[in-house]
């Protein structure tokens, strides 16, 4: 028995094993963010992928998209383009804002190449709405961590663009869903 201080090894190990992260209730983040917004301490929507795309547009990398978030034909080189949603699942890339610069650069690259794109990260503090009960924690097994909306001629082109998304390099999955016209 090594009794450093006055605890045995087993007692010390038992105490050390108590160190673990505890995710706070999702409602706390919502409350904190809402309070900070109310106080003017947070700029809603500042940063993130959408800002990156907007900045690209302001710089003139692609015209015709400002003021019409989902208007693929205006700036797309192909007037027959359709919209596709890229849903980003799992992976470690958007859990804490890591790799955000990489995502932003990817979005800027698409805009520079003439592909309309916008997107957002999605917060984890989601609830499931109900007409009969209070909002409840989501019971679905997996939630998207973010999304992009791109313009492409068809599903093949959308899939090709999606295959370059940095989310795939960070262990995530990207699901391509056409928007019904």
């Amino acid at each position: 028995m090594s009794d450093d201080g006055n605890l045995t090894d087993a007692e010390r190990r038992a105490l050390a094993a108590e160190k673990r992260d505890v995710p706070p209730p999702a409602a706390l983040e919502t409350l904190i963010v809402a309070t900070l917004r109310r106080r003017g301490a947070l700029e809603r929507g500042a940063g993130g992928w959408r800002t990156a795309v907007a900045a690209s547009l302001v710089l003139g990398l692609a015209g015709g998209f400002v003021g019409a978030r989902f208007l693929p034909t205006a700036a797309s080189p192909d007037a027959t383009a359709h919209r596709f949603v890229l849903l980003l699942y799992a992976g470690d890339a958007v859990q804490d804002g890591a790799h955000r610069d990489e995502y932003e650069a990817w979005a800027r690259g698409l805009v520079a190449a003439g592909t309309d794109v916008t997107g957002d990260e999605l917060s984890a503090d989601a609830v499931e709405a109900s007409t009969t009960a209070a909002p409840a924690a989501l019971s679905l097994p997996e939630q998207p961590r973010g999304y992009f909306v791109i313009a492409a001629r068809d599903l093949n082109e959308a899939s090709r663009i999606a295959s370059t998304c940095p989310h795939l390099r960070h262990g995530g999955r990207v699901v391509v869903r056409p928007v019904v016209s």
Binding site: M1, G5, N6, L7, T8, D9, A10, E11, R12, R13, A14, L15, A16, A17, E18, K19, R20, D21, V22, P23, P24, P25, L28, E29, L31, I32, V33, T35, L36, R37, G40, A41, L42, E43, R44, G45, A46, G47, G48, Q95, D96, G97, A98, R100, D101, E121, S123, A124
Partner: protein, 179 residues
Amino acid sequence: MTDADLVRRFVESRDESAFRALYARHAPAVYGTIRRLADTFADADDAFQEAWLRASAGMASFRGASAFRTWLTGIALNCLRERRRNGRHDWHEGPPDASAAEPADHRRLDVAEVLAAMSAPFREVLVLHDVEGHTHEEIADLLGIEPGTSKSRLSRARSDFRRRWRASPGPAPEEGSDV
């Protein structure tokens, strides 16, 4: 992106995504610490929430002398101790006592139950040192006490923990344990 980068983004442009990134990165660890130290879940929630609000207001003064998480933990501890001093226990549970940590089935208490039964000053130094792994110098900064006070308090806290732990019935927590 480092904590310092995120702090700078938040301070310079009130960037919500930077704030949320800091939150996602540090909230589970800080909340875990506060939950282990608070008398009630409600106290933990309130102190945690207040800590983030104060940290946001004081983010510009964060110079990176300590890790962001340590800095935030210190703020949260202050919030918790203020609540304790003011006697604010929303769930009317009051401070725990030894009798509250005696399970009806006479099983061995787990560590969390023993910690919950200890006085706040003892619990603080024991958790911060033996669970969280802080040094006495860090604990002194976090609690606003002298390092020597932290050392002597830890010794008494360990005695108290050991007495409660060994007094609880049931099998030892680990096979081959020398408890």
